[in-house]
């Protein structure tokens, strides 16, 4: 999937299988990513587990679990709030669109979580106070989790390399009149950019993610996934100047890390 970390780094990662997205004293979030096309290195999130740890007289321990084609509007035990403690309503699940969009307000830790099902895959967004992000058991062993540290280098996919090869491959193939080995409902680079521009007129990294996803999957739902991810960052990010992120040109550093605009 595409990952925007707490420090506004933007990466496209393989991270196939189960990976920790958040892991601190209050909250654990784990995602399971699966290849979007058999054998593809491109993966998307098919399962998400959130564990809210019990907290003083506010909430009991609560587990939220969503899977492909199943976005429940309640915790695993059927409840919609933090249990029976005095401050139970400081943890609440709200269904925004049945089966497509839920929000979890964890007021006791000043945290808001948005989980969506777009097409068959899940998207996740969170807004969390810095103090809560940093609340880990032993500081020196700050968890190696994706939202904080990003993906390991060997798990990152280089956008630019992908785009340049896919464009040059298309040109070369077109000159020879051959057909591209491609996913179902294949998009050309031009078709993908036109489709993405409909929802994401600013050609930032959300736009580029959209193009990448259409080229790798041929699934137009990924246009909406990028669009909603951008909508969520507009709502949840505290610095409106940093909503758009752009690709850093090569001379500034390796991989596809990006600085904010």
């Amino acid at each position: 999937p595409h990952l925007r970390t707490f420090s506004d780094t933007f990466q496209t990662c393989m991270v196939q299988g189960a990976w920790p997205l958040i892991d601190n004293n209050y909250l654990n979030v784990q995602v399971t990513n699966t290849p979007v096309v058999p054998g593809s290195i491109a993966t998307a999130t098919s399962k998400l587990t959130i564990i809210f740890k019990s907290f003083q007289e506010c909430v009991d321990q609560k587990v939220y679990q969503a899977e492909m084609d199943e976005l429940p509007a309640a915790f695993a035990d059927g409840s919609k709030n933090g249990g029976d403690k005095h401050g139970a309503n400081s943890l609440k699940i709200t269904e925004k669109v049945s089966g497509q969009h839920i929000e979890i307000q964890a007021k006791y830790i000043g945290t808001t979580i948005v989980v969506r099902q777009v097409g068959r895959y899940l998207t996740f967004a969170v807004r969390m106070p810095e103090e809560v992000v940093k609340a880990v058991e032993d500081g020196d062993n700050q968890g190696l989790y994706l939202c904080l540290r990003g993906c390991p280098l060997n798990q990152q996919i280089d956008f630019q390399a992908f785009h340049s090869t896919s464009q040059s491959t298309e040109n070369r193939v077109r000159r020879k009149g051959l057909s591209l080995p491609s996913p179902p409902e294949a998009f050309t680079y031009e078709m993908a950019t036109a489709k993405c521009r409909e929802k994401l007129p600013v050609e930032d990294l959300y736009f580029q993610s959209c193009v990448f996803d259409l080229l790798t999957t041929g699934d137009v739902n990924f246009t909406l996934a990028a669009y909603y991810a951008f909508e969520d960052v507009k709502v949840l990010h505290s610095d409106k100047e940093k909503v758009h992120l752009y690709e850093r040109t090569r001379e500034f550093g390796p991989g596809n890390e990006a600085a904010s605009e």
Binding site: H86, E130, A229
Partner: protein, 120 residues
Amino acid sequence: CRIMKCNSEFLAATSGPHPQAAEEAPEFCTALRAYAHCTHHTARACRGDLFYHSAVHGIDDLMAQHNCSKDGPTAPPRLRPPPRGDSQERSDSPEICHYEKSFHKHAPAPNYTHCGLFGD
């Protein structure tokens, strides 16, 4: 390593004058699963801790003795309190349960951060 917290929660649930889950009660398995869940979360921090390892072995033994399944609720099903009208929040909800309110008292507004994961 917070294995002692797990131990005390389990003891509180299964012993004392009015245990919620006395040894012979069906809730005993629920308490055991909650205990296993709790120890699982301390695994990383408790690696090498004798109390931790003996707790884990003890849980396995008790689960086998009482024929408890590993899967199942880790908290006793509780009657949900009757909905209190449409009030968004219980007015008497403790201050500690409102991060922003309790923050404002002592310091400027907290810095918020964002993380997102989407697409392929």
